[in-house]
Subunit: 569 residues, 2 copies
Amino acid sequence: MSSQYQAPLSDMQFQLFDVWQVQQHWQQVPALAEQLEPETAQAILQEAAKICEQQIAPQSQLADQTGVRLEQGEVSTPEHYKACYQAWCEGGWAGFSGDPEYGGMGMPKVLSMMLDEMMCSADIAFSLYPGLTAGACVTLQQYASDEVKALYLPKLYNGEWSATMCLTESHAGSDLGLMRTKAEPQADGSYHISGSKIFITAGEHDLTDNIIHLVLAKLPDAPAGSRGISLFIVPKFIPDAAGQPGTRNALHCGSIEHKMGIHGSATCVMNFDGAVGYLLGDPHKGLAAMFTMMNYERLAMGSQGLGAAERAWQNALAYANDRLQGRISERDANKAEPIIRHPDVQRMLYTIQSLNEAGRSFSTWVALQLDKAKYSDDEQGQQLANLLTPIAKAFMTDLGLECTVQAQQVFGGHGYVKEWGMEQLVRDVRIAQIYEGTNGIQAADFLLRKVAGDKGAVLQQLYREIESWLDTSNVLHQQLASYLLRCQQLTESLLKRGSENKALLADYAYDFMTLNGYLLYGYMWLKQIEALERAEIADETKQQKQKLAHFYFARILPRVETFIAIMQD
Amino acid sequence: MSSQYQAPLSDMQFQLFDVWQVQQHWQQVPALAEQLEPETAQAILQEAAKICEQQIAPQSQLADQTGVRLEQGEVSTPEHYKACYQAWCEGGWAGFSGDPEYGGMGMPKVLSMMLDEMMCSADIAFSLYPGLTAGACVTLQQYASDEVKALYLPKLYNGEWSATMCLTESHAGSDLGLMRTKAEPQADGSYHISGSKIFITAGEHDLTDNIIHLVLAKLPDAPAGSRGISLFIVPKFIPDAAGQPGTRNALHCGSIEHKMGIHGSATCVMNFDGAVGYLLGDPHKGLAAMFTMMNYERLAMGSQGLGAAERAWQNALAYANDRLQGRISERDANKAEPIIRHPDVQRMLYTIQSLNEAGRSFSTWVALQLDKAKYSDDEQGQQLANLLTPIAKAFMTDLGLECTVQAQQVFGGHGYVKEWGMEQLVRDVRIAQIYEGTNGIQAADFLLRKVAGDKGAVLQQLYREIESWLDTSNVLHQQLASYLLRCQQLTESLLKRGSENKALLADYAYDFMTLNGYLLYGYMWLKQIEALERAEIADETKQQKQKLAHFYFARILPRVETFIAIMQD
């Protein structure tokens, strides 16, 4: 009766190698071409799947029940997390996408994104411990000196140490310019950091020997607002000459939050009382450094939505096949049929599956753009990644909630009791719409910054590229072409109306972001159908993909109608 | 920092006396005309509001934390529930809509529905204890002999005893025909009931001296399936000659469920081991008797959605006015503005408020039809109530989830921590989409039974009535008229296509139900606007109503576009 999980490895391979043909990009990048072929990647994903399926996922309900405890400043995580974390680190997964010069595996985002999804299916709360570290490493890789990198990165890559991001303060959430944490310069070049940060994921825990906090704070001469924020490395234990955890720093966990979900994750109030810190990057440029990382990691938030929805779907499907209730043909009143035969149950299952598989395609696409930008300095890739990242974060997590709720609904009353694990998926995934920039902030970022920022150039270019790719002899292609045309016109008209009325754009931002999500998921389905020709997969899978594509176009894509109607002039 | 609540008494009065002018119906019913005038009703609502606001609501978070406990067959509810329950009963609220002949207050549904909403805002879990009793009384009133009524009703009306509905078995949820609980006739005319029921709300608890179970079971000669189910009264303590709780009956609570929410409500597995029971109504006709009550009570489920959403909105509004974050005019970078100034936050708050106030209007409308049927034998009222009840249950609870989630989102990270109470509203309201017939079942009931059952006659008649009421010189009226026309055509075409293809109707049932929900909420907004002319309310309130109506038509009603597009031929 507990919640099951099996990594969707076949679909992951289909998305990677058939739909987006990432191997073509790998071949162009010497560093990747040397070590990565589809077969290697497949083996890698299989290994990661094993830990997720066999060790982490089966205990996620236990982690929810146990939760974290704070006693005298020390945070205990669920007992089994230690073994899970050890297994994860021993497999080399902690440094999976890290810089090989410092002991990382240098793996591309298209693969680490799949790992993220599996980890989130297995246990979102657990995934945050290695997840935050991986995020912090991105900033260190980009902004730290060689010396600092050599000191911290190897230990973060092997998981011996972990890391956090300390941004939020109680009165400064989405508006970081208001923060009050101070950094006082010291004679030796270090700083003393004082202030209190809230909502710090993995701020304190018992999985690693040291915790490296990346803390945003203000220097004494800081300009007002968000242009006066600097970034500091503040280790829990200051590394000694040998690079080992030395003196305990003046920081501690003041309390932990009691939350709706992700009970296994420690969400801490962190107090810095003149803690020793080291400037990372340039003074007053901390926010940019932090956002470099956050943008790169926002795709991982989308994977939380997808991961939870995938596990929810698997369990709902199994339950619907198993649960006998009602009958379609009323032959034998005492003999019920599996509820999957009921059209409304099918509708729910298809809704989830069609959104999940489009979502997996979408995040592979975005990850590929991030890889192109990182490994090939591809400017177009970077532009596209910038444009699509807020959709990946917000739209995918909104769907994460919708899909877990739908899957829970398939279980009827059993979905509401803890035993089956369905309600936990709903509670756990809910946070993904909130943290790392609320989805409202993402929507504003998408329309006001990314789209209006270049007068719609990148988005309209994307529309045109999709349009020119479409085959107008195909019915589904025609349908998308017609929506594309309407979206092109809408975008144009909206930007015109919004050019002197920023409030109008802010007002429509959420609708516009969501509209584009559904439109692009339509594109994802057509890309998948196209890939079926070259894919070496079972006929049954091909037929299922066709069916899902048609379902998406018939039942989900028309949601676009509402958003167009709302925003039309 | 805890969750607040103030009963929306002004809007309730506006809906009752200005929009639906229920006083006109009361004047036609002698039993109501004698005791009820708008002023009396106002005083009644104020009194109920006091208990909800001052006693129940402030402790709902405590109830969530405490939960219920099962020890040696006895269930303890949260400690403060005893005082709340006593206050509720002392106020006479337990028998509010009960038959005056047996000590009830005989109050109409339009008022008890308002009580339901307030109770659900205050604490859904608590509301279920008196709520189940009120529901069971409806069945007893209609099906029990005078002797049985005289024995049970007075004690249920004064709250001394409570009642349950025992339907579900572990393998028989939505499909009650599969049930296995048996009733063996005894020489004295009673029956011995044996079997196990699950998900029994208030099956065991410490608030009353006795618990009267209404149990569905099969007689030895029962036909197969749902046509062979009978209904029995099975008291926890068998009343003695003096009508006092006597011998302990052979039934007990085997376990309680650990649930996502409504932690203060005891959801019990009830085992009947040859318990003494008394047939209620005719043999094999138990399901019909149970459904009489369920249909009448399904509106109360809608009130759970509305009640939670109302409290969520009130708290989100207060938070949005209080929380300083970001700025619209960038004059002072260190000085933030309340987040309510942000268009996206306004969008969320308006969404919730426009849905809530339309929902309150809608449930008043449905309640009035139930009252017309009950007090005036109005056949049209009954037909309309039958048609609209599944929408009230399913659509209003779906919106309950959407609105509580949106309100939680306004709080950002603070919405996810327990302290503020927002996440509890989401968890608590989620069950309302599941119990008393899942929303999928409601949708099927609406399209397959209610609409297709009379070939669309009542629905199309309703469309025509609304159409003829519309004033085509008004822009909003025009917009609704245009949607109405499209819905008329769609209904016709759908029923035609579905006449030989029941699966097609089952497939579209959910979309069709939701479509009609949005359409009728549009009608509700126009009815409210019309009522503004005769309403004696503040100009500010009138302007706000106008604003909300326009918001609904611009931003919510277009959801109809999607459903029409999906179901179009």
